[in-house]
Symmetry: C2
Subunit: 340 residues, 2 copies
């Protein structure tokens, strides 16, 4: 983004009828969107969430509380309109598409489904790279294409990045450990809800994988190929494509944020387009956000993913833009501005 | 509320297609509204915010960064639709009324304005009680009537409590100090933005008032009469009336929360109807919430009042009800429920 517009945007919000800075995070979002759109009348009238889905070989290690077939079942649930993200998108007038990046099945065609499958799931990263470098590149490209094709149909002002994939919190945590240098005890959480025994196993699996692969912490593509998932690659590609098209990107929980970090490592200039969707219960998400200089504005104790936190924050971005456009200034309202 | 309905409500949310508890705060709100409405299909389709306004004699002590006439000017701004709360209510389809409880002027009639004025501002509580016990009672009754008259026009499922009154963060902080026993250094913040010198003065004024009045910490009416404001009394009355009519009440920042605490001290049974609107920058708000056993789900660094935090949370309550109504269960969606 071109930061030179920021002082102009900040001046506009500072002159509105409220104590200086009294709308906190909403003011920050208003300024960010004004800068992204280079406009003092920013808007995010067209909103869309892309839910990227994929399966994970690492589930063979017993790292999830749910069986792998739940990935397919939940994609069917998204397509039928019954999942949390469907409810949230209806509440906030957000369009929804599901992108099959690597689910271990063949889906029937469906108007909400975008087929970008690279393979029917990754290899088990505890024993070999999750994918080849070629597969990782193809998946990033497919993710970018998913965004671009949807953008061609309904141009988006803001896009949320959701995901579904049993096992993917292990992949995300491994990437965050590798990228930040933090130990697994600081990063790895319970995902969908493993017990103490399962958490211990999950941390051991990730420690083992990190010793096996020794990835370069600054090489996003290498982190992705060795430890990632196809839905994470899809998100990374979509983030790159969205930022390149001037579209604000809202991340979600630990998986979406780890995938955003991959995009950031590949191209740090995406940072100005990124918004943290919420603070997840998964502690590793915070480390990934910090690595990108982002901080979340809502903390609802979510640990679901799908884009649920992103949906709420997309609405807050909408509110922020509206505040920038519609709220009166001290001069317009004839209100004394006090000692600001 | 009748807590016997809670296990039934919790069972319904636990069987939906997500890991147990994965929607955190939204699940808690869904259960609370189901209990309030004794329904597994809760809804808050009709939403309203009441902004109570009043002036404060204590501004003579130099406790605010804005001059007292800003109370009148901001009420005019609300009526003209230019303030933050107007934008927020438009965003969330929330009705808005302004209740003149004690502003130091005579307003022309306006469709959004409800006249419940008791007096043209309180006395300076640093040197005498803010109001007489009779005035405090009349103001509580007027606040209840404001709710009931609006409720007769458009029956509310949820109501947000906003306020405007230069000087009122001093009144709220004094009430919270007295009710919780915490010292002013722990409770008193910068309000609309006083500097270090102003903050020191504000704390000294409140310490002096507490020594002068020595109010009974458990007597809500006495706290209100000695340290309160007419808009706080109005909110307290409206909270009592709303709870008595089975309407969920969303509090806002430190002033709204202090007024909610007055209602709670008068009648602790209101607790089950109360929702914390947000975590304010004003540290004293947290102490008042804790006194009532409430905790906020959003922390956007707000310190504006008007009902702005309440508006956002009312939308989250709406989302929570919708999630309870619309989200599929594991059985309905044919999804394996894992090890829950």
């Amino acid at each position: 983004v071109d930061g030179s517009f920021e002082p102009v945007a900040r001046r506009k919000i500072d002159l509105k009828t409220k104590p200086l800075g009294a709308l906190g995070r909403i003011e920050e979002l208003a300024v960010q969107l004004a800068v992204i759109q280079r406009s003092l009348m920013p808007n995010v009238a067209t909103k869309h969430i892309l839910v990227f889905a994929g399966d994970h070989g690492v589930v063979d290690e017993g790292v999830s509380a749910f069986p792998a077939r739940v990935t397919v079942q939940m994609v069917e649930n998204f397509l039928a309109g019954g999942a949390a993200i469907n409810v949230f998108c209806r509440q906030y007038d957000i369009g929804l598409s599901v992108v099959d990046m690597g689910v271990d099945t063949t889906f029937a065609r469906h108007p909400l489904l975008i087929d970008k499958k690279v393979a029917r799931g990754t290899a088990n990263f505890a024993v070999q790279p999750a994918m080849t470098r070629e597969q990782a590149l193809a998946a990033i490209e497919n993710g970018a294409r998913a965004f671009l094709e949807q953008h061609a149909v309904t141009p988006m002002k803001i896009v949320g990045m959701g995901e579904m994939g049993i096992g993917n919190s292990s992949s995300a945590a491994a990437i965050i450990c590798a990228a930040t240098g933090l130990g697994s005890a600081m990063v790895v959480g319970r995902g969908t809800g493993v017990d103490d025994e399962g958490l211990k196993r999950k941390r051991e699996v990730i420690d083992r994988a990190l010793r096996l692969h020794r990835p370069d912490p600054d090489d996003g593509l290498e982190l992705l190929a060795k430890l990632g998932g196809y839905e994470l690659a899809g998100i990374a590609g979509a983030v790159l494509a969205a930022a390149a098209n001037g579209c604000c990107v809202v991340l979600d929980g630990i998986i979406s944020t780890a995938a955003g970090l991959i995009a950031y490592l590949i191209c740090p200039a995406v940072q100005g387009y990124l918004v943290a969707g919420h603070r997840s219960v998964e502690q590793g998400q915070q480390a990934a956000l910090q690595r990108m200089g982002l901080s979340p504005g809502i903390d609802l104790d979510f640990r679901l993913g799908e884009g649920t936190g992103a949906a709420i924050t997309m609405n807050l971005v909408d509110l922020a833009c509206r505040t920038m456009r519609e709220m009166a200034s001290f001069a317009e309202a004839g209100v004394d501005s006090g000692n600001i």
